[in-house]
C-alpha cells in the first residue's frame, strides 16, 4: 500500500465526498468527475502544502494535475521525498 496515496485518498473521502457517494480509487477522476471543483482544489492544495511542508506553484496546480489520487501523488513527489 502506498502511504502517500492512502493519505490523499482518505482526505478526499473525508472532506469532499458525501456519506452515500460511490467509493473512489487511485484513478477516479476527481476534477473532471465533479468530486473536487476548481474552488475546492485550493483547499486540497493547501492540505498537501501543510501536510508535507511544501509549496506547490500555481502553474503546477492545474485541473489535470489534480484529477486523480495517482496524479496528485506524482505532483507531491516532485516537491518532497515521501
Amino acid at each position: 500500500m502506498d502511504e502517500l496515496k492512502e493519505i490523499i485518498k482518505n482526505y478526499i473521502i473525508n472532506e469532499y465526498l458525501e456519506p452515500d457517494s460511490d467509493p473512489i480509487t487511485y484513478d477516479t477522476p476527481l476534477i473532471s468527475g465533479g468530486i473536487v471543483d476548481s474552488f475546492s482544489m485550493v483547499s486540497l492544495k493547501r492540505f498537501l502544502e501543510n501536510k508535507y511542508n511544501i509549496q506547490i506553484p500555481d502553474e503546477k496546480a492545474t485541473p489535470e494535475a489534480f484529477d486523480s489520487v495517482n496524479k496528485i501523488a506524482e505532483l507531491v513527489r516532485e516537491f518532497v521525498k515521501v
Partner: protein, 567 residues
C-alpha cells in the same frame, strides 16, 4: 449575415411584439414555457430533431429528441401532480447537470408549479436558507446529494417530498423520500398542461446581496418573450446550430440560455456534465461539432492558462460564434480568442434579476475588446449620477448602470421581500448595483460593483453570508469578508478573522475554517485566504469597515477614515 443584422435598424423598428409574433403568442393567451420548449417544437414538425446531447464525465452519452423532451417532461409533470403538487408550489432541482435537470425544469413548469433550481455544490446551510425562504414543497436530487437534504429536512416542515432520480435500491429510502426514474417510468403522451399566463410565476433563482440572506428572484412565464429573441439575436442561434452553454442551471444563465432560449428556438444543444479540463472541453467541441459556444470569462482565462499548444490537437473549425457572460471579459481574452479561434468572444451583460441579456456585443458588429457592448433593442440603459439618479447627459462619466423597467423577463419581485425589491428602484430606474461609463459611440464599459458583493468566477457571493457562517466556527470571534484580485476568477473571497481566547493562528486552523465554510455554504464561498488579525477596523459605533480591508487588498486609496474607532 447574422440573425441580428443592423443595430440602427433593429433599434428603430423594435417591439417585443416581434418576439410574440414569432412565438405565435397573443397577449391574454395562455403561455407556458414548458409547452413552448417541447410540445410546440414537435407541432412545428421537429419532433424527431435532436434537442439534447448529454455526455457524462465517464464518456457516457444520451441523446434526446424534442419528442423525448415532450414525453419525459409530461412524465415528470404527471409524477409530481400525482404526489399532490399544485400550481404555485415551489419545486427545487438540486442535481448535477444530468438530463433530469433540464427536462425536469420543463416538466415542473407544465404543472404550473414554480421551479427553484439550486447549484448542486451548495452545502447544507446554503440549501437550507433557500428552501426555508421559498417554503419549498418538493426537491429533486441524486443519491450523491441526498445526505445534505437529510441533514436539514427536520427543520423544513414544508418539504414534503424528496425525490431521488437515481435510486438503485442499495440503501433504504428514508422519511419523505421517493424514488423516480425518468427513463423507466411509463411515458406520458398526453398531459394537460396547466394554463399559465404571462404573469404566472415560473422560476425562482436565488441571488446574493451585500446584506441579509439570499433573495429569491421571481420570474414569470412571459420572460420567454425576452429569452427567445435574445437567444436568437445575441447568441445568433439558427436551426442547424449545435449549441453549448457551459453554465450550470443552478444559476440563471443555465436556465435562460441553457434551457429556455435554445429549446424555444428548437435548436440542438449539448451538455457536458464534467468538471473543467481544457482537453475535455476542446474534445467535446470537436466531437459534437459545436457551432455556438456560450461560456464564462473564468473558463476562458483557464483555457488561456492551459496554453495554445493543446488547441492544435483538436479540430475546432466548427465554431461559428462565441459569447461570454458572468463578469467583465478582459481585452486580453478577446484578443486571445481572435488569435486562436479566429473569432472574438462577445461579452454579454445581464443579471439574475434582468432574466435576459440587456447590454451586449452583437454578432456581426465590431467588438471593442473590454467593452460590455450596447443595449439590446427594447432595453433603455444608462449611467446614472449616484447623487440624484439622473442620467449623465454627457458620455465618459462613471456612474450607476440603470435600466428602465418594463421588458418581459424583468424580475417581478423578490420572494417574500417586497421591500428589498422596491429598494432596487430609484427615480424610475432599476439599479443594477454595477458601475460603468458610456463612450461616445454608446458602448458601455464596466468599472466595478457599487456594493460589497463579491463576483467570483461569475457567481455572486454575499460577504454577509460568509461572515455569518464564519461566526459559527468554534475558533472565530469576529470576521470581515472582502474580495481580493485573482487572475482566473477575477475576484475570490478573503476573510479577516479574530480568534476567540484559547485559539492561536496556524495553517491547519486556516484550512479547517476554509473547509468549514466550503461544506456549510459552497466551494465558491470558501475563503481562499484567511488573514488572522488582532482586531478589525470599526466605526465608533462598532460597525466593521469592510471598505478599508477591501482597499488594502486592491491597493486602492483607503479614503475617509474619520469615523474609524481607533483612529
Amino acid at each position: 449575415m447574422s440573425n441580428f443584422g443592423s443595430y440602427e435598424e433593429r433599434v428603430k423598428s423594435f417591439s417585443w411584439a416581434l418576439s410574440e409574433q414569432e412565438l405565435s403568442y397573443q397577449p391574454g393567451q395562455v403561455i407556458n414555457i414548458g409547452w413552448y420548449c417541447s410540445d410546440r417544437i414537435c407541432q412545428m414538425g421537429k419532433a424527431d430533431k435532436v434537442a439534447l446531447i448529454w455526455e457524462g464525465f465517464t464518456g457516457e452519452k444520451k441523446v434526446f429528441t424534442y419528442n423525448d423532451l415532450r414525453l419525459y417532461s409530461n412524465t415528470i409533470a404527471k409524477f409530481i401532480t400525482d404526489l399532490g403538487i399544485k400550481a404555485g408550489d415551489r419545486i427545487c432541482l438540486f442535481m448535477d447537470r444530468i438530463p433530469e435537470l433540464y427536462i425536469g425544469f420543463l416538466g415542473i413548469l407544465k404543472t404550473g408549479a414554480i421551479v427553484q433550481p439550486l447549484f448542486s455544490a451548495f452545502g447544507e446551510e446554503s440549501l437550507f436558507v433557500r428552501l426555508e425562504n421559498a417554503q419549498t414543497s418538493a426537491i429533486f436530487t441524486q443519491k450523491k446529494h441526498v445526505s445534505k437534504v437529510r441533514k436539514i429536512r427536520d427543520k423544513l416542515p414544508h418539504l414534503k417530498h424528496i425525490i431521488i432520480v437515481d435510486y438503485d435500491g442499495k440503501s433504504t429510502l428514508q422519511e419523505r423520500e421517493v424514488a423516480f426514474s425518468m427513463e423507466q417510468t411509463e411515458k406520458v403522451d398526453n398531459f394537460e398542461i396547466y394554463p399559465t399566463y404571462a404573469e404566472t410565476p415560473s422560476v425562482l433563482h436565488y441571488t446574493s446581496g451585500t446584506t441579509g440572506m439570499p433573495k429569491g428572484v421571481q420570474h414569470v412565464h412571459y420572460s420567454l418573450i425576452s429569452q427567445y429573441i435574445t437567444a436568437k439575436w445575441v447568441l445568433d442561434l439558427r436551426d442547424d446550430d449545435i449549441y453549448w452553454c457551459t453554465a450550470d442551471p443552478g444559476w440563471v444563465t443555465g436556465t435562460s440560455y441553457g434551457i429556455i432560449g435554445p429549446f424555444s428556438l428548437g435548436v440542438t444543444q449539448c451538455v457536458l456534465d464534467s468538471g473543467f479540463s481544457a482537453e475535455a472541453w476542446y474534445r467535446f467541441i470537436e466531437k459534437n461539432r459545436v457551432t455556438v459556444w456560450y461560456t464564462a470569462p473564468t473558463a476562458i482565462r483557464s483555457l488561456m492558462k492551459a496554453g495554445d499548444e493543446i488547441i492544435k490537437k483538436f479540430d475546432l473549425s466548427s465554431l461559428r460564434h462565441l459569447a461570454s457572460v458572468g463578469e467583465p471579459l478582459n481585452p486580453e481574452a478577446v484578443n486571445w480568442s481572435i488569435r486562436v479561434f479566429g473569432k472574438p468572444f462577445h461579452d454579454t451583460y445581464w443579471q439574475t434579476e434582468t432574466g435576459c441579456i440587456v447590454i451586449t456585443n452583437f454578432p456581426g458588429m465590431p467588438v471593442k475588446p473590454g467593452s460590455m457592448g450596447r443595449p439590446f433593442p427594447g432595453i433603455t440603459a444608462t449611467v446614472l449620477n449616484p447623487n440624484n439618479y439622473e442620467p449623465y447627459p454627457e458620455p465618459g462619466r462613471i456612474g450607476l448602470i440603470g435600466l428602465k423597467p418594463g421588458w418581459p423577463s424583468m424580475m417581478r419581485t423578490y420572494w417574500n421581500n417586497e421591500e428589498a425589491y422596491r429598494n432596487k428602484f430609484r427615480n424610475g430606474w432599476y439599479l443594477t448595483g454595477d458601475r460603468a461609463r458610456i463612450d461616445k459611440e454608446g458602448y458601455f464599459w464596466f468599472v466595478g460593483r457599487d456594493d460589497d458583493v463579491i463576483n467570483t468566477g461569475g457567481h455572486l457571493v454575499s460577504p454577509f453570508e460568509v461572515e455569518s457562517a464564519l461566526l459559527e466556527h468554534q475558533a472565530v470571534a469576529e470576521s470581515a469578508v472582502v474580495s481580493k484580485p485573482d487572475p482566473i476568477n477575477m475576484e475570490v473571497v478573503k476573510a479577516f478573522v479574530t480568534l476567540k481566547p484559547g485559539f492561536t493562528p496556524s495553517k491547519d486552523l486556516e484550512l479547517d475554517i476554509m473547509n468549514f465554510i466550503r461544506k456549510k455554504l459552497s466551494p465558491l464561498a470558501m475563503p481562499q485566504e484567511i488573514e488572522f488579525v488582532d482586531s478589525l477596523p470599526k466605526t465608533r459605533s462598532g460597525k466593521i469597515m469592510r471598505r478599508i480591508l477591501h482597499a488594502k487588498e486592491w491597493g486602492e486609496e483607503i479614503g475617509d477614515t474619520s469615523t474609524l474607532e481607533n483612529d
